[in-house]
Symmetry: C2
Amino acid sequence: MLLSKLFIPITKDLPAEAKIKSHQLMLRTGMIRQSSAGIYSWLPLGFKVMKKIEQIVREEQNNIGAQEMLMPTIQSADIWKESGRYDDYGEEMLRISDRQKREMLYGPTNEEQITEIFRSSVKSYKLLPQIFYHIQWKFRDELRPRFGVMRCREFYMKDAYSFDLNENDAVSSYNKMFCAYLKTFQRLGLKSIPMKADTGPIGGDLSHEFVILADTGESKIFADKRIFDVPIDKYKNNEASLKKMRDDFSKFYAVTDDKFKSEDFDKNVKKGDQIQTKGIEVGHIFYFGDKYSKAMNCSVDSKDGKKTFVKMGSYGIGVSRLVAAIIEAKYLNEKMKWPKSVSPFDVVIIPAINKNDNSNLEKANSIYEELKIKGIDVLLDDVEENISNKFKKHDLLGIPYQIIIGSKATKDQFEFKEIDKDSQMLDLNKIIKLLKN
Amino acid sequence: MLLSKLFIPITKDLPAEAKIKSHQLMLRTGMIRQSSAGIYSWLPLGFKVMKKIEQIVREEQNNIGAQEMLMPTIQSADIWKESGRYDDYGEEMLRISDRQKREMLYGPTNEEQITEIFRSSVKSYKLLPQIFYHIQWKFRDELRPRFGVMRCREFYMKDAYSFDLNENDAVSSYNKMFCAYLKTFQRLGLKSIPMKADTGPIGGDLSHEFVILADTGESKIFADKRIFDVPIDKYKNNEASLKKMRDDFSKFYAVTDDKFKSEDFDKNVKKGDQIQTKGIEVGHIFYFGDKYSKAMNCSVDSKDGKKTFVKMGSYGIGVSRLVAAIIEAKYLNEKMKWPKSVSPFDVVIIPAINKNDNSNLEKANSIYEELKIKGIDVLLDDVEENISNKFKKHDLLGIPYQIIIGSKATKDQFEFKEIDKDSQMLDLNKIIKLLKN
């Protein structure tokens, strides 16, 4: 892609409500544009990052055997009345009346809808265990939407639902998801901590939230730093190993400020292992047994022919929120560096363009064509602009690798720079190898 | 995927309103489930097909340089008041009042929203021409939703918008899209006809609808059969060639019944070339000049510094509707055959399973593992069921290739069948080669 053609309409005058750095950066690099309060359009750059996050989330769901489907955004109020949550949800639920005066709503979550699908089609234990997920827009009519896509009204979320015959199996499904979440955040280049959590309006008695570390996070975190040494990749995809994984994590103290007690911290964690930092919640998982299946009469025949209410869990990841969360974690000292796995481009070519001399741009162009052929998603900064302004701009765009075509470049050797590291003079084959790796 | 684990909840008792064959088939094969009137959940099988269609649509948009973004589903009424369409749209628009009593709506289309984005960020002709698209859920509050996803309320649509400095450039963008649409439908395995159309509530003076042939289509079509010989792949991606493409198509008579006059038909088409068939509209493109840009004050500075209202077009493809349209076109004599490009699986392995003899299932399993390693998306019908029932089921599921493990199979040779063709005995390498091709 040529930068001159890429639609990245930069908001120069930041609105007063853009208080956190992800909100500011997303406006300054044209990733999003506010459409109305708490509702955003995702412009090409932001859209690309969000889609890459979505794909990683999807792959890790598929890896544990979850099946993808897609439930609609608009739901009937009837099923929410069945579960008893229609009134509970309060004003955050966007309630809609259609032309026939039917009570509808824009789904803030999908426990009721998936339970309705399941109860109407599954009658026997034989299809269990089963996990379904979808990645769909949700709406919560926040009283004061703020912080950009971090706390907006229309947001993109992966929500999964597990169905099991008994509590033991259900906890096993829960552990699978626990593991999938850790792997997902790891692939997104984030350090995450699973923390015991309250279940809130979803209900149930087992819950974890996944918090990623970011200096500017919304919640304070107190933890044993050894929690980062639990070897996520070492566990196998079987019941015993996944149980051990959760146990291993549970051994280490990790709480947010609402649960923090300094005497507990000191009792459980050696001074040298204590860390105090900030974080952002990006995922939340729940086991709530038969809370919904009982209320909505969702049962299967067990092996001995008895009707049994299925045991359910639900599992959310905020996909649109993660875009902002990654920025909060990775935007340091006025420099953004996207993790390779979700960067809007693999690499950017930055030629120093001189009005009287086209040679750098020509060199850049031929490298650009070569990289495209090799399947590398490359951005060419073909804008006529002072090179130091270019560097400032790319500090914000945050593409992790740069090929700089300036005075240092020779016929075959180009300056290759990874953000935050020293640049090297390399030939194109070497560069391609590094990018492909 | 093992069929015993795949979530395809089949609706056995078809509802009375399932009158057309795509609606029936989608319910009978568990592709969708109605959530409320005209609103559907996409279950795993239907979801897979829709995602494959979406990806083909996306690739052909990218091929003409259109940039993907994503606008939200919920829009402010304000921009619709600016364009004057807020009142025009009538009851099909789902109007919503949020908790702050702001007037909102669930977008049925996005001309206003994209114009708002464009006017607030583009000031110069230099970024033109530009085409943006998004693939997003829309809502039209149909009075009588029917025919399943063919005429539903919440639907998935690709809509693109072009911005040009003058009419000549705008028509050139229009022609690019004209070409992209023909290629899209070709890749979906469909025969499509572009037809001059009225512009309706979108406005403007140039418009084509794209109709695909299906015996059960909603509209009658009268055409010169030579229109199918126009060599879509022969045109180049430049202004002159694309203009010629549209001209070449325009030479041939093709109208729907509302414009049909038998004397015109006879005058313009030789008897031997006349075809009369049925079709389904799956795409619609419009050029409407400055209808929206003028109303919403969306202008750029042209080269000579004069403010000029941008010239716009809009271009829709019904992605969710296409799933049903493909079924209407391809489901014949009680047999479905998905085009290879959008089939939910590449191939299905059908072993004859005998309670006392596991050997066919074992063979099937080892082929299944081998195909998965080769990157083939394979379904294994591991259900214990009479083989003739299995065949009936797969006539509906419509996966175009079958590997049948029954009495004919030898140690190395398996019965390989493409639906509607004779089966052959082939070894696995040969089968893999055919599937990969």
